[in-house]
């Protein structure tokens, strides 16, 4: 074990969407930051298995930090995404009532949205609802139209944040699990990892599912993370015309229910389930979960069952016993606990980072803006704008952008090459998938599986 003498200004634990956003935010100032991540890549944990919705926060609990940060995060991400090339689309959402009791809940939902500062909701009657969504299953009684809800790519944001942070001078340590944290005499922290100790004046805990464990290492015990498993199924792109907007369920108290949503890649997603489990690494799907989601798909959009499922994925939400984020700044010691960030974390990520920066600034972290900041443009993997294969000028400049390797998702050799290089290269198939969409399509590697593995192996 080596003790690294040079103390960093800030060490951020966890390179999920929240930790990466905080690293990006702090890197805009004259600070010496290190982002440590237990996994092999940025955004490879819970952040990658999100419902990928851009929430307005209309249904948050009024007065909570979550309500405030989701609202602000929606604003920030809507501005940031087009600038750096994060696929995002404001599709609007319909919160559908399937019986009169649910429809009677509408006024309370609108009232809550008002309390959250969101006033654009309209009630849509049955006929108008079926005109908006003609493939909706029978039996709906009406809906609330939430026009500013949207869909966003869950893969690109953490990569964009981390890339920006890296280019601005932040250090990134991957495959570096934190095994212990100690307060140092005279202030600051020692962060213990298998490859040595890191000294930090300020510490940010964005460890997601393990944020409670890090918190306990510092003697706090105000929350416990219980992983809540959410299974999702993604239907074939050919099913995309069945749906225009996000279909939300009327919340029942414990969960927001199962939703159906278009994805920015052009699929239709149905999920999530909600099941509390013990194992923080158990991202297995279950036969009961898949059967339930299929029945929900049939209820919401009966024609969906005529299409194949392209992918099944499972996310673990960092749920706690509290109904708000566990975001606490311990001022005298210089420790920010950013725990219990549930599925709204993607929408709120930039606002959480902004909040943490301001609070740490108030706690004494010197914030002198850097004079020059990097401009980041991420490879675009959505369906709204042309991708490289569809751009004559890019192919003319580099013919590898015309050589399609992954047929289902139309990923070119040029994009795979790019993803294996650059400041934050993919190190495994999953990383390549999240950066390019390769292997994400309906054939799941039937055509290009071997070729993509060969290209990855040639780089490794």
């Amino acid at each position: 074990m080596t003790e690294e003498a040079a103390a960093r200004d800030v060490v951020i634990i966890g390179a999920g969407v929240v930790g990466a956003a905080i690293a990006r935010e702090l890197s805009q100032f004259e600070l010496n930051c290190t982002l440590v991540e237990a996994g092999p890549d940025v955004g490879a944990g819970t952040s990658k298995a999100n419902t990928a919705l851009l929430h307005t926060g209309f249904d948050s609990k009024p007065g909570t930090l979550e309500a405030r940060l989701v609202r602000r995060g929606h604003e920030l991400l809507s501005e940031y995404a087009p600038r750096v090339g994060i696929p995002l689309r404001r599709t609007g959402a319909l919160l559908v009532a399937w019986n009169e009791e649910q429809r009677r809940a509408f006024p309370a939902i609108v009232e809550r949205a008002d309390a959250n500062g969101y006033t654009a909701i309209n009630e849509v009657d049955r006929d108008a609802l079926y005109r908006l969504e003609p493939h909706l299953g029978p039996g709906a009684h009406g809906a609330l139209d939430v026009p500013d809800e949207g869909i966003v790519c869950a893969f690109t944001p953490p990569l964009a944040y981390a890339t920006e942070a890296l280019l601005a001078g932040c250090e990134l340590r991957l495959r570096t699990p934190v095994t212990g944290v100690q307060r140092l005499e005279g202030g600051g922290f020692s962060v213990e990892t298998p490859s040595g100790h890191l000294k930090a004046r300020y510490l940010v805990n964005a460890a997601g599912l393990r944020s409670d464990e890090i918190d306990r290492m510092l003697g706090h015990s105000t929350f416990t993370v219980t992983p809540r498993r959410g299974e999702l199924i993604v239907f074939d792109k050919l099913a995309r015309p069945l749906l225009n907007r996000i279909l939300l369920a009327v919340p029942t108290g414990t969960t927001k229910g199962v939703l159906a949503s278009p994805t920015v890649y052009g699929n239709v997603l149905v999920g999530p389930t909600a099941e509390n489990i013990d194992d923080k690494s158990d991202t297995s799907s279950t036969s009961a979960g898949l059967a339930f989601l299929r029945s929900e798909a049939e209820r919401l959009l009966p024609e969906l069952l005529g299409y194949d499922v392209t992918a099944v994925y499972v996310g673990l939400r960092a749920a706690t016993e509290h109904d708000d984020y566990q975001l606490t700044i311990h001022v005298p010691e210089g420790y920010a606990c950013v725990g219990g960030i549930r599925s709204t974390g993607l929408s709120a990520s930039l606002a959480i980072a902004e909040y943490v920066r301001m609070e740490l600034g108030a706690a004494g972290l010197p914030l002198e803006p850097k004079r020059e900041l990097p401009e980041v443009r991420m490879p675009y993997i959505g369906e709204e704008l042309p991708r490289p294969y569809a751009e004559e000028s890019r192919i003319a400049a580099d013919p590898d952008y015309g050589r399609i390797v992954c047929f289902c998702e139309r990923v070119t050799g040029g994009e795979i090459r790019d993803a294996l290089g650059g400041p934050l290269p993919a190190v495994d198939l999953d990383g390549l998938r999240r950066r390019t969409r390769v292997l994400m399509g309906r054939c799941q590697g039937f055509y290009c599986g071997a070729e993509v593995r060969a290209r990855l192996a040639a780089r490794a």
Partner: protein, 408 residues
Amino acid sequence: MTVVVVIGGGPAGLACAIELRRRGAGEVLVVDREAQAGGIPRHSAHQGFGLRDLRRIMSGPRYAQRYVHLVRRAGADLREEAMVTGWSEASGLELTSAAGRENLRPSAVVLATGCRERPRSARLVPGSRPEGVMTTATLQQLALQGMPVGNRALVVGAEHVSFSAVLTLAHAGVRVVAMTTELPRHQTLELFRAGASLRYRFPLLTRTAVARIRGRSRVEEVELLELESRRTRLIACDTVVFTADWIPDHELSVLGGLELDPGTRGPRADTGLRTTRPGTFAAGNVLQGAEPADIAALSGRHAAGSVARWLAGDRSWPAAVPIECAPPLHWISPNAIGPNAESPPRGRFLLRSRAFARRAAIEIRQDDRLLWSGSARLAPGRSALLPCDWVTAVDPLGEPVQLSTLAG
């Protein structure tokens, strides 16, 4: 000026292009999105290709090379690493390649895009998502490239291709721990089955489903469910090969607005292999998954005759009468009868069932008229051949033709 564009350079597309040139159809362009044309046989490094179309037996890669050679010699233009990425009335076929983007407006289009095995996700197999889960095609490409496959493999499925997977695994030094099928028996030739189990010594577990895959980074074990007893058991392996369960690669068919057949899930095609879109033909395994390469090639050759006649004729596109199958019959191919009452490829219809039957009584009716009756041996995953002499009795203005079986 390109007269015909053939999409897909596998056995069906290449055989179609060769025949089109032989018939003097004019300029023929074959586009293939792979770096090398030849289709699925490129990866099947064992013998058994070419019997019915080329009248000789060779390995898959040799067979693929042979067709590529023949198509070039026939004077067709073959473009590899070129993918049709769009198809609309306004811009025709949109082709993407390293040369850029092009729009093609040929007089005729032949879809020969083939089929693929449904992956684990489409089969809704629960569990974790470790490395080591693949289809036969991925397995065979990995093996061909000399890349590591695994040590102990479970083969899911018991059709011809499943035994092809066994051969590949054995060649790659991977032990087959078991083969599973949810059906009561295998669906290949008894000779293949007995030979393979004897030589490679693995159990064939019938009426068995894959209930769950376990493993963190790599497959560690698979939970199997015996469908009769509902008992589960664990089998240790690091590789799972999902074989068969074919689905036509119909994305372009849908993009082009072609009607699909609900059974085959490929484009609906009449016995001349005309689809529901004027000037658009389909051949090979995009029509149905999956027939052997030589059958696909003969289907391509058959389509070429219709294309040539259409190019030379009055270019009318008469509506065809669909053929509908009642369960347990799954599909028939081709699945429509045009007014000219042509014969299907090889003068036979391909019929698939979801159930086994040694001698199933089959009836073909239209508007309650009996067109044909006879018997067939039915097995899922294998086609029964039906004669075609009844097509002349089909009323081109009548209701859909109904195909049913009396025996289960």
